[in-house]
Amino acid sequence: MKYEIPIGPLHPALKEPIMIKCTIEGERIVDVDVIASQNHRGVEWIGMNRNNPVQSIYLAERICGICNFCHPSCLVIAVEEITGIEVPERAQYIRVIQGELERIHSHLLWAGVAAHELGFDSLLHYVWMVREKVMDILELVNGNRVTKSIIMYGGVRRDIKDEHIPKLRKMVEYYREGFNKIAKLFLEDKTIKMRTRNIGILTKEDAMKLATAGPTTRASGVKKDVRQDMPYYAYPDFEVRAVTPDILTGETVGDTYDRIVVRLLEVKQSLEIIEKALDEMPSGDILSEPKIIKIINQVKKSEGEAIGRHEAPRGEDIHYVKLKEGFEYLYAWKVRAPTYINILSWRPMLLDMQIADIPIVAASIDPCLSCTNRVTIVKNGKEKIITGDELHKLSIQKTRRLLR
């Protein structure tokens, strides 16, 4: 006997609105369907119809509050490529540091959420307490804890001052010391190992077929990282290598445990990059053109199209931008967030698993639905589902009428 279990769109196990429809046979999951679009806010439309290109940077930041550096970064890379705005070298280094700080905070955030999904709440609280250190640094450097508003066409808006550098180094030290404890808690704990080893396996073939990105694909053994394959900013100086779980464990399984390993190793890698960037950061300007009006005019005069790619904490983020001469807004703007492709890997991961594994497997790709849902997802079944929802609404209304 087959049953259908809808999970979401609002569910305590999910942090964001999305609906997963699982067909089950006993405890075994036999089919999975994902229904998105609850979070669609029309960001691209606003960028193409209301905002000037500089305002769109701040709009791109609010595509996602967690990876709020990677989206404006992609947009800026694309527009800079079209218009030919130069970026000073110091700004490139600051951008690298910002990107890596974001990766640390995002991966720690994810580690906490994963612990919570396993029912290990004291670990959630511990990891989030450790995470506050990087939030303090973000606040010190950017003036805000979450949205940074630091990137601008032709550089960055705020410098990393000399008095910030000792504090940044202290943070790197703090995480280096704390890393072993977190790694021990996550990788050696019996409960976590039991709940994540061989759970939600994504094979290398599936990962390649679904073109997954970021830690999800690297945990399956695919060596894919934009920072390695197509370095941007000052990344060519750092020689970043894609992290795969066999570095630590000696084998690649592609399960949830491996995805934890990859994220932890990436935190370590980010610390190294930040340290090296602080050592080698050149002095000089941080913005090639401080007058915003001039930048807006230059963007308005340019014509062409480009793609901006950035390795976000969740994977490769791509923005396609087209500018037209004399057109006030972005002529075309298409965002492809990493979760958009990673979400499809839920199906191969969840098949043949148990219902109790849904939260941790769903969380293991670090879904960021506010990124994804800007893209309208058109599915064949969508119309039917809306009708179902409406029917439900009508039925509730009728019950209420009868009760009166």
Partner: protein, 129 residues
């Protein structure tokens, strides 16, 4: 409850609950279901898809109740105002509800805790009457 927000406010709400800010020491406790709640925290500008769910969540919560609107989106739509897929802000969907607004994009965890305290003051006032 996330009604189509960018996550910025949501992570600050969780930050308010975790050890640095530790809202639980003030007696603020997260519950798993709106049926057990006194205060519902809403984030986001309320997209078309979520409008009906916002109403349902509000109706599921027992009286007396207060809505804590966290972030600029819930107040006016924030950066997303004028978008074609918004039914919000929350005021428009739940005109009869008592709202406590916490402005900011995103607000700091301290501000969120202050908002909950305001909501508590309001609820206590109601109960006295």
């Amino acid at each position: 409850m996330n009604s189509g927000s960018c996550n910025g406010c949501d992570i600050e709400i969780i930050a308010a609950l975790t050890p640095r800010y530790d809202a639980e020491r003030f007696g603020i406790k997260l519950v798993g279901s709106p049926r057990h709640a006194d205060v519902i925290a809403f984030t986001g500008p309320v997209t078309d898809d979520m409008a009906d769910k916002v109403k349902r969540i509000y109706e599921q919560t027992p009286d007396p109740k207060v809505i804590l609107v966290v972030g600029a989106c819930g107040i006016s739509g924030g950066v997303f105002h004028e978008s074609y897929h918004l039914s919000g802000p929350i005021e428009k969907i739940l005109p009869e509800a008592k709202c406590i607004y916490v402005p900011g994009c995103p607000p700091r965890p301290e501000a969120i805790i202050y908002g909950v305290v305001k909501a508590w003051e309001f609820l206590e006032g109601v109960e006295k009457k």
